[in-house]
């Protein structure tokens, strides 16, 4: 059966993701013997979301995406998709913000989140556009057990957010976060069945870090304990929900898209197209 991966196409760099997904699928079919046919679609309404087995929320302006999602009646279906049905979802930059259970430095009056990752995200952490940058990233998950090269991944950070805190896994909303000034939280949802629960995890895995936090903090005179494991968290995964604060879709490097499609295949349990 065809595996349908949707890309949320309300605003932002959704076409770039679709281009890389197609290339990644070709790679899997030609080099890894994946037989399952893939279909990639733009998601602008609830019907298109319902057709999707997995979803990417692209980079864009998170306030715009959540506003248009609310106006288009998509906010609740998205929460159902990620948190109730627990289908594989990946968010880049704005997508990471929307998938966080808590976020700060939001616009006045806060903004709506989808949730799914027990983390607090700091919006525009690295600053304005003149502070945007390119950095080569060492991502251990790309090296694990396959033949793709161990070359660093080109990380493009555009007014990027960072994962500021890993939150405890809780039932219901993140109460402590809700009471923190200037922080918004996602509404609570319960996984619908055993299969959805099994796709969840109480543990947030740190998938990538950007070294240099110590230097950055020292430069502005902040107090940093050098004994701490310092480095900005720029990629996290919890069960089948994945988030990156950088933009693989702005590169021509397909490795993360290949990796993510493998995760999708594992989650739907179908590499041979026989589901």
């Amino acid at each position: 059966m065809t595996i349908t991966a949707g890309v949320l196409a309300l605003q932002g760099a959704f076409l770039e993701h679709l281009v890389l997904l197609k290339r990644a699928a070709n790679y899997l079919q030609q080099h890894e013997g994946v037989k399952a046919p893939f279909e990639f679609i733009e998601v602008r309404n609830a019907e298109q979301l319902a057709r999707s087995d997995a979803l990417i929320i692209p980079g864009g302006e998170s306030t715009t995406i959540s506003f248009v999602a609310a106006q288009s009646g998509l906010l609740e279906p998205l929460r159902e998709f990620v948190k109730v049905s627990r289908k594989p979802t990946w968010g880049t930059c704005a997508g990471l913000i929307l998938l966080a259970e808590a976020a700060n430095a939001t616009k006045k009056g806060g903004q709506e989140l989808i949730g799914g990752l027990d983390v607090r995200v700091h919006r525009n952490y690295f600053g304005r556009q003149i502070e945007s940058f390119h950095a080569d990233l060492d991502l251990p998950f790309l090296k694990a057990g396959d033949s793709t090269s161990g070359a660093p991944f080109p990380g493009i950070f555009i007014r990027a957010p960072v994962v500021e805190k890993i939150l405890p896994s809780v039932d219901g909303i993140q109460k402590a976060e809700e009471q923190t000034a200037g922080t918004v939280v996602a509404p609570s949802k319960t996984a619908k069945d055993e299969q959805a629960r099994s796709a969840m995890s109480s543990r947030v895995e740190i998938m990538g870090k950007l070294p240099g936090r110590l230097n950055k903090a020292a430069a502005v005179g902040a107090e940093v304990d050098a004994g701490d494991d310092v480095g900005d968290i720029i990629a996290v995964k919890q069960g089948n929900v994945f988030g990156t604060s950088f933009h693989p879709e702005l590169t021509s490097d397909i490795r993360i898209h290949v990796w993510w499609l493998r995760q999708v295949l594992d989650s739907v349990g179908d590499r041979d197209g026989v589901r």
Partner: protein, 319 residues
């Protein structure tokens, strides 16, 4: 028919110099063009104070353009139009979390330096302001801040990209509320790209001849012909006043829209702003367009471009 063919642009690299990682020098072109890619499918709104900026942010704008007067007022007031007061720009920056753009006069590189120092996210080297140089546009490659520039045709767009612009928009005719010029400029760019593709099929000689004719870099022209679109994000601007105007420009193949005077010169700015944002996302869905076009109150009165003298038009500024 939907003619949007945006999908082919991504993952391109332009022949622009790029800095090494981690150095405090100019960011790579991918980083500059990257923010424009993040704005795609969105609406950038002209605002003249913090209050309007908040209305725009609440309405789902993906960025705001901070300026002292909207183009309709610049047109009405006459005189020399310049960069906005930094104080105003700072107030707007403090009011919102979305990117803040600002306009500099054509060729006025010191206004650009000032805007960069203010931490503006994108500079619009704009024909809406009075040009400061009648020969040169700003050399944009050396700035850390990325630039957007207007165009009427492909040659003009590629000249700006060669100077370092990381985003292009149609010039249209700002401050009129008449979309006809934006449509003309978008169609002209597309026709020019078709010609470039035909020249590419014919051979390198034909492509070089066309580059000479339209006055642009032959390498950029070839790249455009191969992509079948501009090598950077291309927004519509100049005269967009309704949700239908926004969707029209999107169906013609634009990546997003600027709305200048159209929102805050209308009867119900907040409602119109939200409707234009919805229309830009759902530009292919006529049912949604019908819903969001309903009951918006009075649109800006506007000026019919057909009755304007050529000297009244702003699009003729720059080359």
């Amino acid at each position: 028919m939907v003619m949007n063919d945006n999908g082919t642009m991504s993952n391109t690299t332009l022949p622009t110099s790029s800095a090494a990682n981690g150095t405090p020098s100019v960011p790579t072109f991918a980083v500059k063009a990257g923010l424009a890619q993040m704005l795609k499918g969105g609406v950038i709104m002209d605002v003249v104070n913090a209050e309007q900026a908040r209305i725009a942010e609440e309405a789902g704008a993906c960025a705001v353009m901070a300026l002292e007067r909207v183009p309709a007022d610049i047109r009405k007031d006459g005189g020399v139009a310049r960069m906005s007061d930094p104080h105003l720009i700072k107030e707007i920056q403090a009011a919102v979390t979305i990117p803040v753009m600002a306009k500099a006069r054509i060729g006025h590189f010191v206004e650009c330096q000032i805007l960069e120092a203010l931490g503006i996210d994108y500079i619009d080297e704009s024909e809406v302001l009075t040009p400061a140089d009648d020969t040169y546009h700003v050399e944009k490659s050396g700035f850390r801040v990325p630039f957007v520039c207007g165009c009427r045709n492909l040659g003009e767009a590629l000249r700006r990209i060669a100077e370092g612009a990381a985003m292009i928009r149609t010039k249209g005719e700002a401050g009129t509320g008449d979309v006809v010029e934006a449509v003309k400029h978008m169609r002209t760019v597309k026709q020019d790209i078709s010609r470039a593709q035909a020249a590419l099929a014919e051979g390198e000689g034909a492509l070089r001849a066309l580059a000479r004719e339209i006055g642009c870099d032959a390498v950029l022209l070839k790249q455009t012909a191969e992509l079948g679109r501009l090598p950077v994000v291309n927004f519509a601007a100049g005269g967009i006043a309704t949700p239908a105007d926004a969707a029209l420009m999107m169906q013609l193949g634009c990546d997003g829209v600027f709305v200048g005077s159209g929102i805050f010169k209308s009867g119900n700015a907040a409602k119109r702003a939200k409707a234009i944002v919805q229309a830009t996302t759902h530009y292919q869905d006529a049912k949604v367009l019908a819903q969001c076009s309903e009951g918006l109150g009075e649109a800006m009165v506007g000026i019919n471009c057909g009755t304007m003298a050529p000297t009244e038009k702003m699009a003729g500024r720059g080359w």
